[in-house]
């Protein structure tokens, strides 16, 4: 009896939060679906009625669609590669006993606390500026011609900025995973004649597999939606238009809400495919 009572009480108490979250998700979702089947041009006549799947066809057949998918993939994979590889190395370094460990660890987390817009501005104006940027000064110091980062290497620049933001996240998760490794396993491997690199390859890396999948999963979902960094730096020019940015342009720059909404629905489907796919991997990993 007691458990049944407390169960229904729990349900009632949880209800406000659940309803709020559900509304938060359902209202925009239904609105997006609603607009995606409409010809809706706010500055050019407003609601012009239902047009079926026209928006969906137009969005995919536009010349900007496939390049934007490619750009998205390049950014996501590039950032994942950098954060996972550097994250593992940094985690290994931070795991070593050293003086001022606590402070160093907090410093490593710091980039994660900086808002994307701010960090993109800082990178754009203080590091990558071809005249006043730190990197330009560095290049000049060595007698080289400063690179115009954002116009000559726009994708790499954005990948660098985003990777810088996400590196702390990867490092933190991987660091906790490394700390949970039983040191006797490493000692056993050492006794078994495994040199440091083999110990890394045979013991540490397999131990990190689960943490790496989790990092990849979570980051992919957030990286698919990268927006502020592009908006602040290149505004989608020089081939940095991702799917997310394309949707933004369709809605706000072309003032075609219907077309943008159709793109949004594609993005939802894409993100869910990635999520399901990665959930399976993580689920399998968690079982083992």
């Amino acid at each position: 009896m007691a458990t049944q009572h407390s169960r229904s009480a729990a349900r009632i108490m949880m209800a406000p939060a659940v309803i709020l979250l559900l509304g938060w998700m359902l209202v925009p979702l239904t609105m997006t679906l609603y607009f995606s089947f409409k010809k809706y041009l706010p500055l050019r006549g407003g609601d012009l009625g239902w047009i079926g799947f026209d928006n969906y066809v137009r969005f995919v057949s536009s010349s900007a669609f496939w390049p934007s998918v490619q750009t998205t993939l390049v950014i996501v994979l590039g950032v994942l590669l950098i954060t996972v590889v550097l994250g593992v190395l940094l985690a290994l370094l931070l795991d070593q006993p050293m003086w001022g460990q606590g402070v160093v660890r907090i410093l490593v987390i710091a980039p994660f606390f900086v808002m994307p817009t701010v960090s993109a501005l800082v990178w754009k104006n203080m590091f990558m500026d071809p005249v006043n940027g730190l990197l330009a000064h560095l290049w000049k110091f060595f007698g080289a011609q400063p690179i115009e980062w954002l116009s000559n290497a726009p994708l790499i620049s954005i990948i660098l900025i985003v990777a810088w933001q996400w590196l702390p996240f990867a490092t933190l998760i991987l660091l906790t995973a490394i700390q949970s490794l039983d040191s006797e396993q490493l000692e056993a491997a050492e006794m078994d004649g495994a040199p440091p690199l083999s110990r890394f390859g045979y013991i540490i890396l397999p131990h990190l597999a689960r943490a790496i999948t989790i990092v990849v999963l979570i980051q992919t979902i957030f990286l698919l939606a990268v927006f502020a960094e592009i908006f602040v730096t290149t505004q989608g020019s020089f081939g940095t238009r991702t799917l997310t940015y394309l949707i933004f342009q369709r809605v706000l720059e072309s003032q075609n809400v219907g077309l943008g909404s159709a793109g949004g629905v594609y993005a939802i489907i894409l993100a869910n495919i990635v999520a399901i796919f990665l959930m399976r991997i993580v689920g399998k990993n968690l079982d083992a």
Binding site: D182, E184, E187, A188, M191, D192, G193, A194, I203, P206
Partner: protein, 334 residues
């Protein structure tokens, strides 16, 4: 093929010296047990021999070769860890084959050795399982298998049985002893359990605070403990210590008498006392007897069936030849 000599080795962590200068020789083929209370430095000593810790000073000689600065893998020793330290993502086969793989052996030779080790340890049916799917005893055997395939000069065991339940522990104890008989390889075994030490060892090294209190065969330690610490540590139940008037009679600071060397009588005897708790084990009965002038109750080991109850008055008589006498420094008096 497995003689290990420690010359004046010391180990300090920061300012704390956990092992003061220590000498020890372990002969080839011996089963040596390091035993002592927790924190006595026995595991540290084992890790020094293994090379997992560096000695602060002194030298380690293995088979006549200076090994003080030789990395662990090159010392030709194999270690079985307390947590077994199996590689969780590898099958049993791969776990056992790991040292061979690291040594660069070809696949066929690896398989042959793994099969042979699995046969010895009854693991043949489990070779393709992961460690997570095995029971504690099986994991223990895999850890031993991983050590065997290397054909080491000596095996090092770091409290290998402490994670097993009591029944399994007795079994594994026998298996390890059996293994030692078969392989005739030097084995160094660390434990805090004096029963394991007594039952398995050719030679016991009793340690306290990093200092070797006594080295000897189990029976040597039992019959002629060098000091009060060894006397109290070896033997179960613990030796009874009596001082004051009891000891003065024997011209000693303290006297010790083992529970099995006391005779109980309800009518007459040397010392008079009151029975407290009695533990019936079937084969034996342990009586805890409170005596006047004696702080701790005296433990007596009696036959299985005694009709003595809580609160009864009993008389205890020691076997005179089995009384151990200790001086002011707790050293044994001849």
């Amino acid at each position: 093929m497995g003689q290990i000599t420690l010359n004046q080795i010391t180990k300090s962590f920061g300012d704390v010296q956990v092992i003061p200068p220590l000498d020890l020789t372990i002969e080839d083929g011996e089963f040596v047990v390091f035993v002592g209370p927790s924190g006595c430095g026995k595991s540290t000593l084992l890790r020094l021999i293994a090379g997992l810790e560096d000695v602060s000073s002194g030298e380690i000689v293995i088979d006549g070769n200076e090994a003080t600065n030789v990395p662990p893998a090159k010392r030709g020793l194999a270690m079985v860890f307390q947590s077994y330290a199996l590689y969780p993502h590898m099958s049993v086969r791969k776990n056992i084959a790991f040292p061979l793989r690291m040594a660069g052996l070809d696949k066929a030779a690896q398989d042959a050795k793994v099969e042979a080790a699995a046969n010895v340890l009854n693991l043949t049916n489990y070779l393709d399982r992961r460690p997570g799917q095995l029971s504690g005893g099986q994991r223990q055997r895999v850890a031993i298998g991983r050590a065997i395939v290397r054909e080491p000069a000596a095996f090092l065991f770091d409290e290998p049985l402490s994670n097993l339940d009591a029944a399994l522990r007795v079994n594994m104890r026998l298996e390890i002893s059996e293994l030692h008989q078969t392989l005739e390889t030097t084995m160094i075994y660390v434990t805090h359990d004096q029963v394991e030490a007594m039952t398995m060892a050719d030679k016991i090294v009793v340690l306290q605070a990093g200092v070797i209190e006594q080295v000897g065969s189990p029976l040597e330690l039992y019959h002629t403990p060098r000091n009060k610490f060894v006397a109290g540590f070896i033997g179960s139940p613990k030796m009874n210590f009596m001082s004051g008037a009891f000891a003065a009679e024997y011209d000693a600071q303290t006297i010790g008498i083992r529970p099995e060397h006391l005779e109980v009588s309800q009518s007459e005897g040397k010392w008079r006392g009151t029975v407290g708790v009695s533990e019936h084990l079937g084969s034996d009965t342990f009586l805890y007897v409170d005596m006047e002038g004696q702080e701790e109750p005296v433990t007596v080991r009696s036959t299985g069936e005694v009709g003595i109850r809580h609160g009864d008055t009993v008389y205890l008589s020691p076997e005179p030849s089995k009384i151990h006498r200790f001086d002011k420094e707790d050293l044994r008096l001849a």
